[in-house]
Amino acid sequence: MSDVLTVTDFSVDYLGEQTVHAVRNVDLTLGRGEILGLAGESGCGKTTLAYGINRLLKPPAVITSGKAVLHSREGTDIDLGSLTGEELRAFRWDRVSMVFQGAMNSLNPVISIRAQLEDIFSTHRPAMSKADRRTRCGELLERVGVDRNRLKSYPHELSGGMRQRVMIAMAMALEPQIMIMDEPTTALDVVVQREILLEITRLRDELGFAVLFITHDLPLLLEISDRIAVMRAGELVELAPAAQLYNSPQHAYTKLLLGSFPSLTGERAAG
């Protein structure tokens, strides 16, 4: 399997009266079409790492070492750290898109779903005709199981699950190579959570994008990911295929994490 993203020696500090090393010397690769799970307790630096890769961190957070390189479909390597201004803006969402934690707040409350979807095309694909944009937006919604009529709705008129589906539709819009999902199902109830996860795996199979899936919910990762990385206090302590990590965890912290969930989930994950 060829790689789509290589992260080497990546570190992020939060500057302040006492500097916090949020991410320390992380090495990571993401294969094409792979779902890589990133697990760890809250505050361990998972989200900071993801934001850092996509260059979304704001001061006082600074990247102190390392780099993230994307291997594009066209065969060129793009160093994310070297992108500036307009290049960085054009790169975002086109190559790497994101689905955020707060389904409630990730959508702009005062403009319609259509406007938020069309935003993407009018910025990244200015040549696209208005009619094409409209049809494309409708297709995207239907692809994630939301009725086309919902385009004219506003975020507050949708349920939590539907909002997250809309986010996923947006993330697919430009057919990116990587989708970073930061706790995409945490705020949802279990049934909706399951539907969304099925949707994500199905879409991944159809479109072949790679997923960096961040969550504190290890059993959930065991179920959907190809490989799992475990983070603790900013460091990557273990990275292994899902089954291997479950059956023979190497690091003490991984064992602790696995032990803290009821064994019920284990049987399914092994199967």
């Binding site: 975002r92 969402w93 707040n105 005062v110 319609s112 935003d119 507050h156 008129e157």
Partner: protein, 329 residues
Amino acid sequence: MTYYLRKLGFYVVALWAALTLNFFLPRWMPGDPVDLMIAKLAAKGPVSPEIRHSLELLLGTDSSRPIFLQYVDYLNNVAHGDLGVSVTYFPQTVSTTLADTLPWTIALMGIATIISFAIGILLGQLAGWKRGSWLDNLIPVTTMFQAVPYFWLALVLLYLLSSVAQIFPTGGGYDVNTVVPGFNLPFLRSAVYYGTLPALTIVLSSIAGWMLGMRNMMVSTLSEDYIVTAEAKGLTRRRIMTTYAARNAVLPSLAGFAITLGFVVSGSIITEQVFSYPGIGMTLMSAVQNSDYALMQGVFLVITISVLGANLLVDLLYAVIDPRTRARA
């Protein structure tokens, strides 16, 4: 739909409250305004029984008619536009006087408020967007302008720009000697020239309020999740600032419009006096100076109705900008 009905209902209640206040105020207050006014009117010309009756209804008198019926008659009179006769502008009726002066005030304050709101919101947006920039550091300085009494600033500007520098006229609404009021270019040009300094006063005194409020909301809005989403989407900075941040940040400023408008109205009433501007504020002043109670009540009523109208407009605009209000109400 319910949102609009609720808002409309509220303003009907507010209007009723204003009318009722207007009816009871002169009756509660010490002294006998009717006798006072009639004595003054009699000095200027004959007072017909109709005028006397209408004044009694407006200002209250110890007539034997039950207060409730007086109230009904009063509402009826107001509905027909009968607000009594003015002493100051005798024999003009109060309604005519108001119709002559109100347009001046609405034009002056309307334009000044729109300019102040637009510039204030724009600068506040930029200051909040670029934290720590020179514009942002200027914010505490602008509060000085907020604390300056309107009339004092007006007098200082008048002194500096009319007496010392002689750029602007010292007062009035237009050049009475050379132009004739009406829809002709010389008059409009003259009105704009005469209105610039009063408008500048209102803008300078009120702009800081809008700016500070918008800047603070902008800062709060920028840490919302949907801003990060917009950044990750690779939208242009301009689009994030306007459609995503500013459009959400402006909502509290609009919701608090009533409070700010109250300050602007209060300030400009006195400002008109300083510039001898032929608007409703100056009419109120002359009414006060001449104990012209009928005119005073009329001015209060008209100012209140205009303020209610402006607030209603802003509430309707709010519903257009924030789709959530339409669903919630």
